[in-house]
Structures are given as C-alpha cells and as structure tokens.
C-alpha cells in the first residue's frame, strides 16, 4: 500500500528555484527550473534525451554547480552530502573489489570500521536480494545483479533521498520490471524520497506518484502529472487506469518534444 501522505501538505526536502545551467561549450542545459521535491514522494523526471533531466539530478546531488538559481535543503542542519544516495545509469562498481567492498565503500569513506559496517552492508545486500553474493566480483554477476549491488551501495547509508539517473535503461524488460517492483517495495519499506530520471513513459507512470515532464533546448519543466494509484503490481501494469495515465504522459511528452523542436 502507498503510504497515505497528502502530497501538498508535506514540506519539500529539496527546493530548486530558477536553476539554470550553461556549460562551458555555451550549451544551455537548463533554464528557469523551479522544482520542489516533497518528503517521501516518488518523483520522476521524464523527458527526451538532451532535456537536462540528468543535469538537474546532478545539480540536486551537488555533483554539478548551477550557473543560476539556488538549490536549498529546508531540512536544515543536515548537510545534503551524507543524506543522499545516487544510482548511476551504469552500475559503476569498482571491478577490483568484491561486492561486499563495493557496498561498504560509502561507509568506509565516512570512516566507519569494517567490523561496525558489516551488519549494515549485509542488510543492504539482503534488501536487494543479494545476501549470498558478498564475496563475488562484479564481473561474475549479471547486469541486473550489478545494478542491485549499485542500489545496495546507495542504500547502505540509509539516505533520506535516493537519486536515480536512468538506472534500468540498459537492462532487459524482464529484469527491469522485476527491479521496478523491488524498488517500489524498498521505497515503501524505507520511507525515503526518490527522484527518478527516465525517458520511459511506462516506467515513470508505473513507479511514480508524480511525473514531471521536461522539454529540451533549453531544458525546462513542461508539465506535471499526478499518478494517484495505490497499488503498483502486475495488475496495475495491465489496468485501464495505467493505460490512461500512460496516454496522458505520452501526449505531454510528445508536446514537450514539439516545443523543443520549435525552440531549436
């Protein structure tokens, strides 16, 4: 069951105001981006490639500085650095290290001893269903399993906000559906905030409570839709409600792309 939070009432965990990004090459990746990420929500950024959705995510993560505008974390005091997890498009594991060491990394960098971290690492691995693979090397795992390790690594610090940059784009459909379901289960269990970047209409509708559609050149928010469905499972995937949301999202995306082309 989706936790019955009324979306408008929760305070934002992160706020972007008038955020713009111009790269050194002169390309304007983002312009005038206003976005509130509300505590506990599952938010997707949906858009065509080049709309700056990944750039927006990197700015939220602090990996990239905005050229204009501000990013604030109203949750005061608690610095964003320790409180976010980031999952890249590729699993981005250290090939020379075993699965355990890869998941332990964020804690190691924070100065937690291996002994103190062992149970937390084991728990994170168990959460993604890889409890038995702590001693494997990444190259011994399938693409889906590597992505699970990557998710376990992001979860090991128990972040308030999980940022995901098209994490399942390179996986086959069966694996992607399975990981979609597991991700929703984790989001409910851990009550964290998820910001999920994707170019898949179906994935964004299936996962999110709120889909923000972006258009390109320059990247900006085009429209926004709320997905109210309470259950997210195989029956939802084939329901008329799901199909309806997908149609609306597809139309929004098509309009956003038209707007991008008109601007180009």
């Amino acid at each position: 069951m989706v936790s019955p939070v009324s979306l408008s009432a929760t305070e934002p965990v992160v706020t972007l105001r008038g955020v713009g990004k111009v790269f050194g090459s002169g390309v304007t990746a983002l312009e005038g981006l206003d976005l509130d990420v509300r505590a506990g929500e599952f938010l997707s950024l949906l858009g065509p490639s080049g709309c700056g959705k990944s750039t927006a995510l990197r700015i939220v993560a602090g990996l990239s500085e905005p050229s204009r505008g501000t990013v604030t974390w109203p949750g005061a005091g608690r610095g964003p650095v320790k409180d976010i997890g980031f999952v890249f498009q590729e699993p981005t594991l250290m090939p020379w290290a075993r699965v355990f060491a890869n998941v332990y990394l964020p804690l190691k960098l924070a100065g937690v001893s291996e002994r103190d971290a062992a149970s937390r690492v084991a728990q994170a691995l168990a959460r993604v269903g890889l409890g038995d693979f702590a001693n494997a090397y990444p190259r011994q795992l399938s693409g889906g399993m590597r992505m699970r390790v990557s998710i376990a690594r992001a979860l090991v610090t128990e972040p308030r906000v999980l940022l995901m940059d098209e994490p399942f784009a390179a996986l086959d459909e069966i694996t992607r559906f399975k990981l979609n379901d597991d991700l929703i289960a984790l989001w409910r269990e851990l009550k964290m905030t998820v910001v999920f970047v994707t170019h898949s209409v179906f994935e964004s509708v299936y996962l999110s409570q709120r889909v923000v559609v972006m258009s390109a050149r320059p990247g900006r928010i085009f429209s926004e839709l709320a997905i109210g469905a309470a259950t997210r499972d195989a029956s939802f995937r084939t329901s008329a409600e799901y199909a309806g949301h997908c149609r609306v999202a597809s139309e929004a995306l098509a309009q956003a792309m038209q707007a991008s082309e008109a601007a180009a």
Binding site: R58, A61, G62, L63, V81, K82, I84, F86, F88, Q89, E90, T92, M94, P95, W96, A97, L105, P106, K108, L109, A110, Y137, P138, R139, T157
Partner: protein
C-alpha cells in the same frame, strides 16, 4: 581447446629446434672453425665449462637489472602520483622525464661513467631506461579513472588521499603492470649498455663485460655462451613479470581472467 594449447607450445619449440639444427648443419657442412662461428653444442658446453665465471657475471648483471627496475618502479610510480596530484609539478618536471627518455642511453653512459663510480653509473643507466615506461603507463592509468566512480567518491566526500588509495591506484594497476613488463626488459638493456660502455672494469663485472672481453680475446664460444645467458635472463624476467601481472589481475581485469565459452 587442448589441440590449440598443444600447438601453442609445440610450434615455437619446433621452429626454435629447426633454427638450432640449421645453425648446427651450417657449421658442420662448411667446417667453420669455432672462432668464426661455434656450433650450438660447443656454445652449450662452454656455458658449463665457464660456469663459475659466467655465473658470477650473470649475478652481477641481474643485480643491476633488478635494482634498476626497483628504483624505476619507485621513481616512476612516485613521480606519476606527484604529477597526478599537482598540475604544476607535472608541467615543471615532465620535460625532464621526456629528455631522459629520448636521449639514447648509449650516449649518456660514458658521461655517467665519468661522474659516478662504475657500479652506480651502470645502475643509473638501467634506471633511466626502465623509468619512463613505468611513469608514462602509471600516469595514463591514474588519469583513466571511471568518471562516474570519481563522482561517487566526490558525493561521499572522499579526501584526496582516499581517492588516490581506494580509486586511482587500483584503477591504474593494469596500466602500471603493463609498464613494469616493458621496464623489466629495458632495465636489462640499460645494464648491458652501461657495462659495455664501462668496458675496462675488472672483477665482479657483468655478462656484457664478459662479452666485450671475450671479443677482444677472440673467445667466440664464450661470447655466444654469455649471449645465451643474457637471452635466458631476459626471458625469465619477462615471464616473472607476466606471472606477477596475472596474479594481481586474475580476479577482475579482462586481460587476465579466463573466460568459459
């Protein structure tokens, strides 16, 4: 593929065997005297007959080679790390590294022999030629860290030292070991060149000096025997360093893991 593996061992052995046979036949059929060209049998028996002299020379050359290689690894990796940590250091000192590399060591050796004691000069030559591949490859390795992994370390607030130890050095390992493999052979060449240049040295000198000395005395079989030992030494060094590379990378790097098909 058992057949292919057998072929991979058998073919080079066969080719080598034929070469030795041809060598032997040429010597026998033309009745060449040993001071023109000794046969393979004589070369091998000279190795045994002159073993005490050749062995101590071999030890001396190997000592120089491995000391030169060790210093090259320390210097090359150390400087690569320094370059990686500071652009200023890199811009200031990279030209020196290139100058050392492009100036032929044969031309530097006589100068070094004037300024340094002989043993130190020989070692310096081995170091100069072995140092650059370690530096160049390690620098390349330190600079080819996965960008996303670098971002991840930044995200978790890793210190410079943590980034170096946990990310850059392991990433650079395959490149570094490849550089080491090249450096091993070059270190031997550097040692040999310097010994030849030193020429006049007395006791305790290396195989290359034996070759030069035997040349003056027209002791051609001993020249060949020393040459054979140098080749064997070079091959042993190469295989030792290959084994080290295999051992270090076998679990994770594509170059070393065996694939099941």
């Amino acid at each position: 593929m058992l057949n292919e593996r057998a072929l991979r061992i058998a073919l080079p052995a066969l080719a080598l065997g034929i070469g030795v046979l041809v060598w032997d036949l040429v010597v026998r059929l033309n009745e060449l005297p040993p001071y023109i060209l000794p046969g393979p049998g004589l070369v091998v028996s000279t190795v045994f007959a002159d073993w005490p002299i050749l062995w101590s020379s071999l030890l001396s050359t190997m000592e120089t080679t491995f000391a030169g290689l060790a210093l090259a690894v320390i210097g090359g990796v150390g400087l690569a790390i320094a370059f990686n940590q500071s652009r200023l250091v890199e811009h200031a000192f990279y030209p020196y590294a290139v100058i050392l590399q492009v100036t032929p060591v044969v031309a530097i050796a006589p100068l070094l022999l004037i300024y340094l004691p002989q043993q130190a000069a020989v070692l310096a030559c081995a170091w100069i030629v072995a140092f650059f591949p370690v530096l160049a490859n390690t620098t390349l390795g330190l600079n080819s860290v996965d960008h996303n992994l670098a971002d991840l370390f930044r995200l978790y607030g890793a210190s410079r030292w943590q980034i170096l130890r946990e990310l850059k050095l392991p990433s650079a390992m395959p490149h570094m070991l490849a550089g080491l493999k090249i450096a091993g052979g070059l270190s031997l060449i550097g040692a040999v060149v310097a010994e030849i240049a030193a020429g006049s040295a007395g006791a305790g000198s290396g195989l290359a000096y034996r070759i030069a000395e035997s040349g003056y005395r027209l002791n051609i079989p001993r020249m060949f025997a020393a040459l054979l030992l140098l080749s064997v030494a070079g091959i042993v060094i190469f295989f030792l360093l290959s084994a080290l590379e295999q051992l270090a990378l076998r679990r994770w790097h594509e170059s070393a893991v065996s694939r099941e098909s």
